[in-house]
Symmetry: C2
Subunit: 184 residues, 2 copies
Amino acid sequence: MASLTEFNLAEAVAVLTRTPATLNVLVRGLTDAWVRCNEGKDTWSAFDIVGHLIVGERTDWMQRLRIILENGEARPFDPFARFAQVKESQGKSMEQLLDEFARLRKENLAALQALNLQQADFTRKGRHPELGVVTLSELLATWTVHDLTHLHQLTRVMAHQYHDAVGPWKAYLGVLQCSGHSAP
Amino acid sequence: MASLTEFNLAEAVAVLTRTPATLNVLVRGLTDAWVRCNEGKDTWSAFDIVGHLIVGERTDWMQRLRIILENGEARPFDPFARFAQVKESQGKSMEQLLDEFARLRKENLAALQALNLQQADFTRKGRHPELGVVTLSELLATWTVHDLTHLHQLTRVMAHQYHDAVGPWKAYLGVLQCSGHSAP
């Protein structure tokens, strides 16, 4: 099988449901060397990434979905505050962020389920402030791939910490060749 | 903090310990659409990736470590069988592979701990059949980053399934720009 042919709500929700637990298992309890280190100036650490995911849950995905349902293309989405996590995460521990992300995601998925979306809803249109007209299913697929893009980034940020430690094996390890296309 | 300055056994083991559970939480119970789809001809699915990790546990990492301890540079490592998972995984379910990987990793980490490696051991040398002289700490760091490179690949393979479903958002999602440098 080469690719999923179309968006499927249950399959998207299956991934969205798993992300908080995946992050939890991957980073809870790791030392600051793994959790607070980044890839250099103006890049994100694991801590920054989880903070960013929290901001998305709080201000973006479900809010945009409701704008589509209530206003259609008439009202453009509010822009995503891509650096709001700096303030949002200040003074918190990684463990607090992981708990907060899990709680918000659970609430948002319950709210999504309560909407009882039907097939016809998936083609309803909204307006992105930069990208123009988008559909409700594109928003839900993007929410899902946004999780994956930040898991992708997180594994790259962690691998970067052993950039030198792997010695000549660097040539064989694809993640160390990744050019940071997942950066904010 | 920009980077870990040097290899640390406890920190490497912390990541190696978490990988089976991370994979388990991320993919167990997902439909075949997520688990068996790949990125096109001659690329790997999530199922192939977990099979490959099993082969590494069975034939590579700890075997190479023992060769360093017993033979030093005198005996080159056996080459890594990068496609052995096709035979290894045949007829098995994803759930069976996840269980098998978790069991093998647990056994290997117990064996690693039993070796009671000391700081001086980390600089002991071995010979890679293509890369030449490597150290024991480079092998352990590579085992760790190899896990991360395949988690990185896995998130990319999953995201690829929604390549079209995200519509114009594709431009913003870094994982969809990843050029497959994590391929085998």
